[in-house]
């Protein structure tokens, strides 16, 4: 297990390292001169001043040198400053990250509960009407664009019915974005749970458990669900990543003050330090979560745990 853990952490570190490489060179893919974009609005900045800025950002050095500078700063927690307003990127991201995580985790919880239960029921009643109803629901669920659903939910529950606030950061404001984000993911999770549980239900060991005379809940929960959890957990990490992605649009629709909305704004403003910071921060979270899920996986699966 320790070996597995260490291997997992090493590959996560490798991923993050490659991410930093990609990020550092992202700015060189941009057509045009980044410094000019940065100082576009100060109409009469002289070429000398631009050169000065280019130098202070290290953009006049070799790519390797730039990377060393970038990593040096990064290791000190310095992600640079935004082009618009010269705010600290790290600070901006850290301020909003809790909001994104709050939204994502609440949505994930909802999605796991609703998706998990309906997937389990559908698998148990495979081919019967509950299965058909639930699976039709999930197909529709995965086909609805979240932003569109968001707009409809917003106008229905906030404007027409006035049940929830339109925007803001309180718990009341969390409900609509979380539910919208969860709706689409619940459908996906429901389908994953269903197919996993169908595989599990076909296993011989359930026959063994039943042949022992165990009660239905014991067979279903202790034997089936516990075994099914392992493959399900392994895909949940991936679902979390998708969810973080989905949160970007949802944050935009519901004015939720998270990193995703910051990122969209940054893209429109071509604020490259902010985009770089966002990509790094985002992929680090995804990597961390996948490591965490792998640990959970290892913990749940005796085959790995016992090693």
């Amino acid at each position: 297990m320790t070996t597995y853990l260490l291997q997992r952490l090493m590959s996560a570190a490798l991923t993050v390292w490659i991410t930093t490489l990609a990020i550092c060179f992202l700015i060189h893919l941009v057509p045009g001169d980044p410094v000019q974009i940065m100082y576009a609005q100060s109409a009469t900045t002289s070429p000398e001043q631009l050169e000065q800025i280019r130098h202070s950002l290290g953009l006049d050095r070799s790519i390797i040198h730039q990377y060393i500078i970038y990593m040096g700063k990064l290791l000190q927690g310095d992600m640079g400053v935004t082009i618009r307003g010269q705010q600290s990127v790290a600070e901006l991201l850290l301020l909003r990250l809790p909001n994104t995580l709050l939204l994502t985790l609440s949505a994930l919880t909802l999605a796991i509960v609703f998706g998990g239960v309906s997937g389990f029921i559908a698998a148990y009643k495979q081919g019967q009407w509950p299965d058909k109803v639930l699976m039709t629901g999930t197909v529709v669920g995965i086909s609805v664009p979240p932003f569109w659903l968001g707009l409809i939910v917003l106008s229905l529950f906030s404007v027409e019915l006035g049940w929830f606030p339109v925007a803001g950061q309180g718990l009341g404001s969390l409900v609509l974005p979380a539910v919208t984000l969860a709706a689409c993911q619940a459908a996906v999770i429901g389908r994953i749970v269903r197919s996993t549980m169908i595989d599990v239900f076909a296993q011989d060991y359930l026959l063994t458990a039943r042949a022992k005379g165990l009660s239905k809940p014991k067979v279903l929960l202790r034997h089936a669900l516990r075994s099914g959890l392992i493959p399900i957990v392994s895909v949940l990490g991936m679902q979390f990543a998708y969810m973080m992605g989905g949160a970007i649009v949802i944050e935009y629709v519901f004015s939720w003050n998270g990193v995703g909305r910051l990122a969209i704004q940054a893209i429109f403003q071509r604020d490259y330090p902010l985009i770089q910071g966002f990509v790094l921060c985002f992929s680090m979270i995804v990597v961390l979560v996948s490591v965490a899920m792998d640990l959970l996986y290892a913990f749940l699966d005796p085959r790995i745990r016992q090693e």
Partner: protein
């Protein structure tokens, strides 16, 4: 005998019924393709012409889906948008399927360092998540439908590569591969004549479902203003440019949104059907 117990829902009755449902779905897709190709001919109005009717008029006999803020006929725009939507799906799936399959085939069959290198690369790309790759690429390339398609296509490569890689690994372990090698066939022949036809059905299923993902993702980018630019009748862009008329003219929002749902639904259901027909391992699921 044991198989009878394991897959109780697999029955002759359903097997004969399924292809017919598949045929209906394929028929709808074919109809969509025809509509998309003939869009300029069958549109009641020119999709670009402004003031083809009064502005923001609700659906009527003259304008089935109403008109937009410029008085353009929404029905005609939706028809033209079908073409774009299908193109979006095909191009981005083409990109991800092409590269993904190539990577998956090579990595899965060759093993060794190409496998490590390629799949490690895919892992990294995967951990960026689709939307972040798409956003970064759009940030670099600038917002346009072409870039959005490309970005979504590139972002999905790791997924296709993994599926293909997994399928190749499964096939590679099959005895028929070894038996074909033992027969004296070259690696090239084993990979492309024997393994590939077994991988293609899986990939076809994945690609069909991927088509709907690509359409959804691209419309999402367009909605954020990072995809198709006005006056493109791409449905996501139509939604984006009309969302502020929601209270005044809800059909401007409901119609393109509904179209996205329907087309995505269509490809999702088609994918499921294809899977149940093409992928014997998955039989019994719907």
């Amino acid at each position: 005998m044991e198989q009878v117990i394991k897959t109780p829902s697999l029955s002759a009755g359903r097997l004969t019924w399924r292809p017919s449902r598949l045929a209906v779905l394929l028929g709808i897709v074919a109809a969509l393709v025809i509509v998309a190709l003939l869009a300029p001919l069958i549109s009641p109005y020119d999709f670009e012409v402004m003031a083809s009717g009064p502005r923001l008029s609700p659906p009527s006999w003259a304008h089935w889906f109403g008109t937009d803020e410029f008085g353009r006929d929404i029905f005609s725009r939706i028809l033209m948008g079908t073409r774009l939507t299908l193109m979006v799906g095909l191009v981005s799936v083409g990109v991800s399927l092409g590269f993904g399959m190539l990577i998956g085939l090579i990595a899965g069959y060759c093993g060794g360092w190409p496998e490590k290198l390629l799949m490690r690369g895919m892992d990294v790309l995967f951990s960026f998540t689709e939307i972040v790759i798409a956003l970064s690429l759009v940030a670099v390339l600038g917002p346009s439908l072409e870039n959005a398609m490309l970005a979504i296509g590139i972002a999905a490569i790791p997924f296709y590569a993994r599926v293909c890689y997994g399928a190749v690994l499964v096939e590679k372990k099959q005895v028929y591969v070894e038996s074909t090698i033992a027969l004296g066939a070259s690696h090239f022949r084993v990979l492309f004549v024997h393994i590939l036809p077994n991988v293609v059905p899986v990939m076809l299923v994945v690609a069909t479902i991927g088509l709907s993902n690509a359409i959804l993702a691209t419309s999402g980018l367009s909605y954020l203003g990072l995809g198709a630019q006005p006056p493109s009748p791409e449905w996501g862009a139509m939604l984006a440019s009309s969302k502020n008329y929601f209270q005044r003219a809800p059909w401007l929002l409901m119609i393109p949104g509904g179209c996205i749902v329907l087309i995505v639904l269509l490809f999702n259901v088609l994918g499921e059907q294809l899977r149940s027909v093409l992928d014997p391992r998955r039989k019994g699921e719907s």
